[in-house]
Amino acid sequence: MDKHVIETRQLSLFYGAFQALTNIDLNIGERRITALIGPSGCGKSTLVRVFNRMNDLIEGVSVTGSVVVQGENIYKPDTDLITLRRKVGMVFQRPNPFPLSVYKNITFGLEIHRKGSNVEFPNIVEQSLRNVLLWDDLKDRLEDSAMRLTLEQQQRLCIARVLAMKPQIILMDEPCSALDPIATLKIEELMQQLKKEYTIVIVTHNMQQAARASDFTAFLYLGQVIEYGETKRIFAAPTEKQTEDYITGRFG
């Protein structure tokens, strides 16, 4: 397999006394789309939030094992979360642009990371919006509030906002669940464009989406990775009974 940008070893995660993830060993390949699937509560969202340590926001979370992102264990005590989160961007389930203008939504990341000078901002904004195919729609509306965009545009803007920070990895936590089928397809097309430059990890409850859009798929159940491999193989010939039951719709 190709170069790994994320490697977890014996990763377990606890919410207080409840164990949400158990001994996860997962290698995520560079410039691939990796889908995490599984029934509700299986830990897929929890797992994706391990990679940028967003779980830290929840009280009582503890993690054992290691998570190596680009050669560095991000659960070392001296990890710089700010740099980590710049390198590992995240797109959420519901589009969550800031209640600022379109322009400011994109420059927010640049300002907090002091990336580039203000002179370059217009270029970066344009480039980021072009990457998510929003530029033509929004080039005359940069000063409009992002809250006035359609949901699909908002979600694209959220992706653009992440791209502006030049991350290496983009985590997507059910990014299409608030969108209609057409917008969903468009976002999936966009992901295919983005994977040329970025590693993408996507959580989805939609198995067709995983089958259509991803290169690798991990099936999680009750906090464990049951099966992991190339998406084609997982969907055509799963080796585990549970995987087969899930993807054929027998439970979940």
Partner: protein, 290 residues
């Protein structure tokens, strides 16, 4: 069936009526103020009343210029604002965003308690602690000054500012915070650039309502400002506010007399000012809801 319908009808009307009453009361109060106070402006033109420099209501001939009183109110209110707005907004941000749950509960209870202290008690405490302190600190002949009033009233504006601003901050959707943190924003960047920004209308409303309370406050301010109806030149001079004037002089007036009408005219001025301030607060509160 018929009875039930009639009952529904009556109850609906009663509720409608009680809702309507609050407006009726305001209108009646304003009408009463106008009835008693408007005659003042036949005797003294409005511009003279508002901007003449002398308030000598019982000398002969009396002089009814409320400029010193207006300035007194402005000095005390502005001072209270300068003190209470930064502290109030700061503590609202702390309570809503930073404080651990236990601390938050304790602080919120404390703020509510502060709001529940009768103003005369705050005035009394100000009188025995702040007044001598200010007198000694600045080496003045009296500690009854605009500054003393400002500090005292800041205590009264604070609970309003904190609790309303805190509500506005807490109402900012979680997703904004998550998005900012996920982009690598620090706690402070998230709080200041995103959360406080999103809560801005609510914070403006909080400030306006706090200030509204200060302008209308009477008892505490009367006890600590010295009540000299002179045009103030600094925060360290005694002042008299509009409210204190009404409270202090109403007992000495003859009903229907000129002085009596002048005090009601001050009431009209106060009513309009607080009405405007609450109006602005209301506009901003509605902005937050959208």
């Amino acid at each position: 069936m018929r009875f039930r319908k009639a009952k529904e009808f009556v109850i609906e009307r009663l509720i409608y009526l009680s809702g309507f009453m609050s407006i009726v009361f305001v209108v009646l109060i304003f009408a009463f103020l106008l009835k008693e106070g408007l005659s003042m402006f036949w005797r003294v033109p409005i511009s003279d009343f508002l901007f003449a420099r002398n308030w000598y209501p019982i000398s002969d001939p009396p002089q009814f210029g409320i400029l010193p009183l207006i300035l007194g109110s402005i000095f005390v209110t502005a001072g209270a604002g300068v003190i209470s707005i930064p502290i109030g907004i700061g503590s609202a941000l702390f309570i809503a965003e930073i404080a651990p749950r236990r601390t938050k509960e304790v602080l919120k209870a404390g703020i509510e308690l502060l709001a529940a202290i009768p103003s005369v008690v705050i005035g009394f405490i100000g009188m025995v602690t702040l007044v001598p302190l200010i007198k000694n600190l600045f080496d003045l002949s009296t500690g009854l000054t605009a500054l003393t009033g400002s500090i005292t009233l800041a205590f009264m504006a604070m609970p309003t500012i904190v609790s309303i601003a805190e509500d506005a901050i807490t109402a900012v959707p979680r997703q904004y915070r998550e998005a900012a943190v996920a982009m690598g924003a620090t706690k402070w960047q998230t709080t200041w650039r995103i959360v406080a920004y999103a809560a801005r209308p609510g914070m403006v409303a909080a400030i306006m309502l706090g200030i509204g309370r200060v302008i209308g406050e009477t008892m505490a301010v009367m006890m600590v400002t010295g009540n000299a109806a002179l045009i103030p030149h600094s925060m360290l001079q005694p002042v008299r506010t509009l409210t204190a004037t009404i409270a202090a002089e109403m007992g000495e007036t003859v009903q229907g007399g000129e002085h009596y009408a002048a005090l009601f005219a001050i009431g009209i001025v106060l009513f309009i000012v607080t009405f405007l301030i609450n109006g602005v607060a209301d506009v901003y509160l509605h902005k937050t809801k959208k």
